[in-house]
Symmetry: C2
Subunit: 175 residues, 2 copies
C-alpha cells in the first residue's frame, strides 16, 4: 500500500502571505520588509490600528481565487503523486466563502490531482496519513503521523518538527 | 481523551433520498414505492431513460440547501457531542457547488457544532476517528476505525458492518 502524504494549501502550495502583503502595502502605502516578518505573523508587525484589515482581506469572497502557486510545488507534487497517495488538506472551514474558490484553484493549478484527494476541514487531528507538510505548528502538533514543517516567516523559530524550506527540499526528502 | 465519532451527512443526517424521490415523482408523475427500493439505489428502480436526471438533481446548485433533517438526529448528535468529539464527514467534493450549501445547512440545523468539526472530503480513508456512522459500504470498508452502517434502502442487504436503523439506536449504542 502506498504511503499517504497530506499537504496544506496556504503558505505551502499557495502564496497567501504574498497577497496579504501586496493588499496591505497598496492600501496603506507602507512597505513590509521580510526581515521584520521573521518569527511573526503579518498582523504582529504592522500598525496595531490596521491589524483588523488582515482578517478582512482573508474573509473577502475572492481572496483565495488568484493566489500565486508556490515555486516548484506543481512539479514536485506531481512527482509525489506518482509514488504516494497525496491529499490536499486545508483548514478551509474558517472561511466558508472560500470553499468553492479553493476547489477551483486546486483544479486549475493541480489538475493532475483528483477531487477525491481534497480535504477541507477545521481541525487536522481528524486526518490519518503518514506525513503532514504544513506551516502551522498548531496543525502539526495534533497530527498523528510524522509532521514536517514547511518554512514560512512566522515559523522560523519553531524547533519541534523536521523542516523543509522549499519544494526542492520536499523532493529530496521523498523522491 | 474523548473518542472521535465521524458522522456522514447524506442519508444519515440529511434526507437527500427523500428529496430526490419528490423531485422525480413531481417531474414524471410516477410514484416510487419504498418496497421496490429495498436493496437498490433510486437510479436502479426507475425507468432507465430517466436515470440521468438523478445525477442532474444532485448537481443542481441548491440541491443540498433545503434537505430535511433525519428524525432525532439533532437531539442525539447534541447528546453525543457532550461525551464524544463529533466530526461531520461528508464526501462533498463530488459536488463542488454544494460546498457552501452544506456548510450553511450544518450551521442552520446543527448550530451547536463548531465549523472546526466539519470535514468535506472525497475519500474517507483519510479520516482518523474511532467510529464512522455512514450509509455507504464503500466509505465504511476503507475506514480504519469501527464502521457502523446506518440503514438506508440501498444497504439493507449489507451484512459486513454493525448496523443502526435510526438515531434512537445510535443513542442506545453510545449514550
Amino acid at each position: 500500500m502506498r504511503q499517504k502524504i497530506a499537504i496544506d494549501m496556504d503558505e505551502v502550495m499557495a502564496d497567501a502571505l504574498g497577497k496579504l502583503i501586496r493588499l496591505y502595502e497598496k492600501e496603506f502605502g507602507k512597505s513590509v520588509k521580510q526581515e521584520v516578518l521573521q518569527g511573526h505573523f503579518l498582523e504582529e508587525v504592522i500598525d496595531p490600528d490596521h491589524k483588523h484589515v488582515i482578517r478582512e482581506y482573508l474573509f473577502e469572497k475572492d481572496f483565495f481565487q488568484d493566489l500565486e502557486v508556490m515555486p516548484d510545488s506543481q512539479a514536485v507534487i506531481f512527482e509525489l503523486s506518482q509514488h504516494y497517495d497525496v491529499y490536499i488538506v486545508t483548514a478551509a472551514m474558517e472561511f466558508p466563502d472560500s470553499l468553492s474558490h479553493k476547489y477551483q484553484w486546486l483544479r486549475e493549478h493541480f489538475s493532475f490531482l483528483s477531487w477525491k484527494n481534497f480535504v477541507f476541514c477545521g481541525d487536522k487531528s481528524i486526518i490519518r496519513a503518514d506525513y503532514l507538510i504544513d506551516d502551522h505548528p498548531k496543525n502539526l502538533s495534533v497530527f498523528s503521523g510524522e509532521p514536517i514543517i514547511f518554512t514560512s516567516p512566522h515559523n522560523v523559530h519553531e524547533t519541534r518538527f523536521r523542516r523543509v524550506n522549499n519544494w526542492q527540499e520536499v523532493a529530496a526528502m521523498f523522491l
